[in-house]
Amino acid sequence: MIALAVTLVLSLQGEQPAPPQPAPEDIELLPTPAAPDAETVAQQQQLDRELRTRRKMLQLHQLGGMLTLATLGATVIFGQLNYIDKYGGGGDTGRWYDWHRFSAFTAAALFAGTGALALFAPSPLEKRKRLDTVMLHRIAMGVATVGMVTQIVLGFVTASKGGSISQRDFALAHQIVGFATFGATAVGFGVLTF
């Protein structure tokens, strides 16, 4: 009887065509993750929207960063030329003054706008806080921000000291802080490329 059953089974299996192999995507060996409810789906979609907005803002932040670095570099160069013109035997012609002033205003506006794009970008994902290139970028840009504010104040103070002996000291301080600010901005920019 058992032999009959086995024969029957084997014969039945033999008659049947080989079962089709499931496509790889049909294989489910792991438990399927629970389907999210409507509220969770809405939250996921909101999160996704915020991330898209963040991405756009940070792409603009990158573009703003490049423009800021370029205008800040120009400001430093024009400032140095202005310093040499005024105190380095250039004849105090004042021909670089407006170049320096306009590039400085442009750089300050771009700096503020670029920083605002990063500060106000939504940040819906929890991030690990650690010393990485982004942290170094933030530290460097924090230093640069302090430098920018100092420069704006020092710039106006220096300009207001026209005719005074102390103007050169203020101009020197403005020059040193200017180079430091540009350096911090360049480090903040460059560190992200590693």
Binding site: M1, A5, L8, V9, L12, Q13, Q21, A23, P24, E25, I27, E28, L29, L30, P33, Q43, Q44, Q45, L47, D48, L51, R52, R54, R55, Q59, Q62, L63, M66, L125, K127, R128, K129, R130, D132, T133, V134, M135, L192, T193, F194
Partner: protein, 177 residues
């Protein structure tokens, strides 16, 4: 007797179920200025080895669990792959010509379906199988196209990361208890 026949006919396919005990999955994306590698150890996986030498495999990892050592890049990766909506990256597939237990190192091809960013792509993945303590160690690496998975490639300094990325894995399976 009929009941016996029915049971024999309806019995599930005989096979050995293997559980993923430990392992890593690593993605690599390349930018002109640097290379980014993100690794996760939070990998789930199972394999069903059948007597005919085929092995069905399913491995997945939460996209959020990949760590590149740079929080911003991890965040960009999650943005680009729409992780909130598609939280898993997954590989399912089938190997053939592999009989367990392995006696020696063997190379095989996994005919796989890779899922990322809610998109599926079929891919042949070369896998190196080695006997490991009470199980099998599988190592693999395969390139894929980010564009094919509709991943909006992140960019730095207006330069996008390369379309070609790589996924590598080092996984150890053991018989399920």
């Amino acid at each position: 007797m009929l009941a016996l026949v029915a049971v024999l006919l309806c019995a599930p396919p005989v096979g050995q179920l293997l559980e993923l005990r430990e392992g890593t999955l690593t993605y690599t994306v390349v930018h002109k200025l640097h290379e980014v590698r993100g690794t996760t150890r939070q990998v789930e996986g199972r394999a069903l080895a059948q007597p005919d030498g085929t092995i069905r495999v399913q491995v997945r990892a939460k996209v959020a669990s990949f760590d590149s050592g740079n929080s911003n890049r991890d965040e960009h990766m999650r943005e680009a792959t729409h992780e909130p909506v598609h939280p898993y990256a997954e590989v399912k597939g089938m190997l053939s010509g592999v009989n367990l237990p392995l006696r020696q190192m063997q190379e095989a091809t996994l005919h796989a379906t890779v899922e990322l960013n809610g998109e599926k792509q079929t891919q042949d993945v070369p896998v190196k199988l080695e006997p490991a303590e009470a199980g099998v160690r599988a190592t693999f690496s395969f390139p894929f196209s980010l564009d094919a998975f509709k991943v909006e490639r992140p960019e730095l300094l207006l330069i996008k990361v390369d379309d070609r990325a790589t996924i590598a894995g080092d996984l150890r399976f053991e018989a399920a208890k």
